[in-house]
Subunit: 242 residues, 2 copies
């Protein structure tokens, strides 16, 4: 196998997104199409909270193994985005506005007591991947953000239109994300295009993005199985009342 050009590599990465990003998952179609019950939207927000909460842990793990100062400095902005400058700011705090707006107790959400085990396993797999694989694979696994601005605009529009329990204020998380995701994914894409030059490295980078798509997909599979298909909530997980 010959090495791909940087542009061919980008095209292959975008093709993975076109085929495997969770925008294609049936749960997202239900969520955006207004076909979820309030309990299902709560279950989604509750489980996705754990993903949000672990993102800065994942990003700090990446910075911790990066010997290049400018990459560390660049990646640090992600910590700021998610953790904010002070209590009540940043992406995690905005996600908790969403769960509160949906009527979930903040303490319950943060305790993770109602989390689906499969959500925890998928998110933890992502954190371990970033700690254990090569730095370029860790960076490549963030590239699902290339595809997130599209899904976010669908989500805001669909959810505001469809659910009377959703307000622009509870969706504040999403209105902030697209410019951050665009900046971050441009950096990560440039990095990968610049440093993934051999066929082996390019292969590992493509596999890293597939892995990350699998993580997001598995999270929605677990939600669908537990909360859309009837009767499959695993022992101990959140049970909706609506």
């Amino acid at each position: 196998m010959n090495a791909l050009s940087a542009d061919e590599l980008e095209a292959r990465l975008r093709d993975i997104g076109a085929r495997r990003y969770h925008r294609l998952h049936p749960f997202h179609k239900l969520l955006h199409g207004g076909q979820c019950t309030k309990g299902q939207v709560q279950a989604w927000a509750l489980n996705r909270y754990y993903y949000q909460a672990m993102i800065p842990v994942k990003d700090a793990s990446l910075i911790a193994r990066c010997e290049d100062q400018s990459t560390r400095r660049e990646w640090r902005s992600r910590l700021v985005d998610h953790d904010g400058e002070r209590e009540g700011e940043g992406g995690i705090a905005r996600w908790l506005k969403l769960t509160s707006g949906l009527g979930l107790e903040r303490d319950y959400v943060v305790s993770l007591r109602g989390l689906l085990p499969a959500t925890r396993f998928a998110v933890d797999a992502y954190v371990h991947f970033v700690r254990e694989k090569s730095l370029i694979e860790a960076i490549a696994s963030s590239l699902t953000e290339l595809f997130s601005p599209g899904i976010i605009s669908e989500r805001i529009e669909g959810m505001l239109k469809s659910y009377d329990f959703v307000t622009p204020e509870t969706l504040a998380y999403f209105s902030q994300r697209p410019p951050q995701a665009e900046r971050d994914s441009r950096f990560a894409l440039d990095y990968v295009k610049k440093y993934a030059r051999t066929p082996e490295t390019q292969h590992s980078v493509l596999r890293a993005l597939e892995f990350k798509c699998d993580v997001l997909w598995a999270m929605l599979d677990a939600l669908y199985h537990a909360y859309v298909a009837p009767g499959h909530i695993p022992p101990g997980a959140f049970v909706p009342r609506d």
Copy 2:
């Protein structure tokens, strides 16, 4: 909270099994009740292969952090059980007889190409748990074996009766396991009863067994979602032909 007596702790552990062990999962009822297609049985064996294959990795991780020689020596028998004394022997080899007997190519099974991502995440969560938690939690997480002799006898009987593609030879794995599981779980139970004396340690031990039940349960949830509920096989995973 006061500490439980050793016998109270055992009763609490057994109660977790009675409520959360995967014997109660709908997929197991289908499998043992003869209601699975051959493709579904293949999917089960293929995915469960990864669990089998990682068990000695998990056990070696436990031995690697254990400073007590007699515990290391005792735990070593698990490596022998799964890896055997030579090529073609041991539990993993017997599991591959099962997958071959079901008509799956050995190379395909071992490649893990068709594995559900959720299986990988759940199994890897178990390996990471054993590496990262305290030794007594790692030991306690093995205690699902207390409950396995029952499920294994149900499985052998139900599968032989129900599926013409299953023979006693393909089920050789299961005929070997119960005495091993009994010996191993007795050791682990005695260890936990002896050393988990404070309320905090007892709590962590009970949580460790719940965690392990969650791992096994999540593996069957993923199988059920992908292969019983129609149309949910995730991108890239095994697609049955029967």
